[in-house]
């Protein structure tokens, strides 16, 4: 029976970020956080595998803020255990540091068969943590997975790439990053939530997983600036003598803008 670890990012809910209209700076301080969307897909897939094959699902996050409510939601969705590595130093951690932290936490958790991550996070969208984590742990990574079938210790996975899809067979232990298309995450029932509230969310500090020194040193990546793009309407007026001509001109304009194919 597979032991599955799902890495969840307690990400900024980008749909609720406000923008300073004068400076275009993102006002993220008050923006609420939630489980990153693709990570929810990863969790759903883990729960589906557990329902079919048995086993255990462990939800794991590395976070500067207390993510216990989000992890409680993960428990309500079907995770058996939830662990947060909470430390203020994680606030400015880059993808390499987060991967190292998660790797140490996974070593502390012990054995596993499958690690599931989202293809990327909804806020920074680097797509790096999953593959980096696999590298640190020395296991294969298969990215952009849109379908998973498990038989014994072999996974058959479909990768959705831009212009094609690949089918790959891989043995456990393995790390997969999943796309949004893989499933529709379940909405936990109120009874699931009641049951989840009785489960424990474990909180570990960096010290608890022996992370120190270079692993939490200065990030390799320095974010210099983040600002919202300025989108201005082109104010193109489509005109013509007849509805047919207007429609034709509209189609031409859309082709010219690259909205639809020519």
């Amino acid at each position: 029976m597979p032991r599955i670890i799902v890495c969840l990012k307690y990400a900024i809910d980008v749909s609720q970020i406000k923008v300073d209209s004068a400076t275009r700076k993102l006002l993220i301080a008050d923006a609420p956080r939630k489980i990153s969307d693709f990570d929810k897909n990863a969790l759903e897939e883990a729960v589906k595998i557990k329902v079919k094959h048995g086993g255990e699902v462990i939800a794991l996050t590395a976070t500067a803020e207390n993510a216990s409510t989000a992890l409680r939601e993960a428990l309500a969705m079907g995770a058996d255990k939830a662990i947060q590595i909470q430390d203020p130093n994680i606030q400015n951690a880059d993808t390499m540091m987060v991967s190292n932290i998660l790797a140490e936490a996974i070593r502390k958790i012990g054995s596993f068969d499958i690690i599931l991550c989202g293809e990327a996070s909804i806020d920074s969208y680097s797509g790096q943590v999953g593959p980096r984590l696999a590298e640190v742990l020395g296991i294969p990574a298969v990215t952009y997975v849109s379908k998973v079938t498990l038989e014994g210790n072999t996974l058959t996975v479909e990768r959705s790439l831009e212009d094609c899809s690949e089918v790959i067979m891989v043995k456990t232990p393995v790390l997969l990053t999943v796309t949004k298309e893989i499933n529709v995450p379940r909405v936990p029932t109120l009874m699931d939530i009641i049951k989840a509230s009785k489960k424990e969310v474990l909180t570990w500090t960096l010290a608890d997983i022996d992370v120190k020194g270079e692993k939490i040193a200065t990030p390799s990546i320095k974010v210099v600036d983040v600002s919202a793009p300025k989108i201005e309407r082109k104010r193109i007026k489509i005109s013509g003598e007849s509805p047919k001509e207007i429609a034709e001109n509209l189609v031409k304009a859309l082709i010219q803008e690259g909205v639809i194919g020519g």
Partner: protein
């Protein structure tokens, strides 16, 4: 002491209900439900039931979740938000949750197993059959009768303007029905009334065609005639002669759900209106910059927040009441708050909620001009829907004022018994 902090469990429950509604009670679906009319779509009921929102306050050992009324009110607010026509809230928050909870409190194990639990699972419909052709608010003056014959009761009477009759007929289910089981005592006409659970398919129950309502189209409103309907004694709710008191308790629970769902409907109307009034320019200026509109918005928002506070306080009082009375069986009088004090708050919520949602819908329609009068927006459907509460569903608006007045002035100032 009241604590406004939502618990982690409440936050997650509200989030889950919102997410479910985002997927299933979309504006397009709500519009389709309103256009198509009843019966209420079964897939939505089953979904709501699977989620656990119908009769969530029923104890877990009876098939519910054992939620408190504060949590159930937060859920009802979300339901009102996503279906501002209030068809969903009327059918499954006010009627099924408000009355279903109360039925469960007084019913036998037989009724619970055959009707309450299946309704919680979204399989059957249970509701309240209060109104009669002579009117709805004069509960003590209703004319349905019941006479005891051995282990059975024989009921005769007629119920009108009853929510969900078509659904109950299609899915199975039944209604709380009050009947006079003893003589009218002129100085106390509310005595000698007994509550029963009448299955919709009982022999002698004739269901009439649903009315052609103006709003909340997705849930039917009909009626039924009872001619020598033979009901086993185990279908009696509570003690003989105490039906009036139980009915007031049922109204309390249903009216609380109405207040909460109207707060949600109001918030939805404002959320739908705000982007438009910021965007739409008239005489070179966004509508939102005109004080005539901005001030109305501010007033509606203030009233909505006041309503929400009232709903939460009332739910908190109900929670204390039920904690003190004990669930599922009423064992004593409430201690901290007199039932009449709670009824006053319930009536304030029932009065304010529908009028506020109605006003918000009306204002939004006016802000939007001709566009607001079309079916492109849900304002007109909300306006028609909440009007059902204004005209009298779950108690006429003026009755609420009488209840409030009674508490302020004393029983001797009640205009009629």
């Amino acid at each position: 002491m009241y604590d406004f902090t939502e618990t982690e469990e409440q936050k997650l429950m509200v989030k889950a209900v919102k997410e479910w509604c985002e997927r299933h009670l979309t504006p397009e679906r709500v519009r389709e439900m309103d256009d198509k009319g009843h019966p209420y779509p079964k897939d939505i009921v089953e979904g709501l039931a699977s989620l656990g929102v119908i009769m969530g306050t029923v104890p877990q050992e009876h098939g519910g979740l054992g939620l408190d009324w504060k949590t159930q009110a937060l859920i009802a607010e979300v339901i009102g938000y996503y279906d501002p026509t209030v068809a969903t809230a009327a059918g499954f928050m006010a009627v099924e949750t408000g009355w279903g909870f109360t039925i469960n409190r007084y019913c036998s194990e037989v009724v619970r197993e055959k009707y309450v639990k299946p309704a919680i699972r979204g399989e059957k419909f249970v509701g309240i059959g209060a109104t009669e052709p002579i009117g709805g608010s004069d509960v003590a003056g209703h004319r349905t009768t019941a006479r005891k014959e051995g282990d059975y009761w024989i009921l005769n009477g007629e119920k009108t303007f009853i929510s969900g009759t078509e659904e109950a007929k299609l899915w199975g289910g039944g209604y709380w029905v009050n009947a006079r089981t003893g003589p009218v005592i002129p100085e106390a006409p509310h005595r000698n009334i007994t509550a029963f659970f009448v299955p919709i398919d009982a022999e002698g129950v004739e269901v009439i065609e649903p009315y052609r309502d103006a709003g909340r189209m997705a849930i039917s409103t009909g009626g039924f005639v009872m001619k020598d309907v033979k009901i086993p004694d185990e279908y009696r709710l509570g003690e003989v002669g105490k039906g009036f008191y139980y009915t007031m308790e049922g109204f309390d629970n249903a009216r609380l759900m109405i207040g909460a769902s109207c707060a949600g409907a109001t918030r939805r109307i404002l959320d739908d209106a705000i982007p438009y009034i910021k965007e739409r320019k008239v005489f070179g200026m966004p509508l939102a910059k005109y004080e005539a509109i901005q001030f109305e918005l501010a007033e509606l928002y203030m009233e909505m927040e006041a309503l929400k506070l009232m709903v939460m306080k009332t739910a908190w009082m109900q929670d204390i009441r039920y904690k003190e009375e004990g669930l599922p069986v009423k064992v004593s009088e409430a201690k901290t708050f007199k039932p009449t004090e709670i009824a006053k708050w319930i009536s304030m919520v029932k009065w304010k909620g529908p009028f506020l949602a109605l006003k918000a819908a009306e204002k939004a329609m006016i802000w939007f001009g001709a566009a607001g009068y079309t079916k492109e927006y849900l304002f007109e459907a909300a306006w028609r829907g909440v009007m059902s509460y204004v005209v009298g569903a779950e108690g006429g608006q003026n009755i609420q004022k009488i209840v409030i007045g009674r508490e302020l002035l004393g029983k001797e100032y009640v205009p009629y018994k």
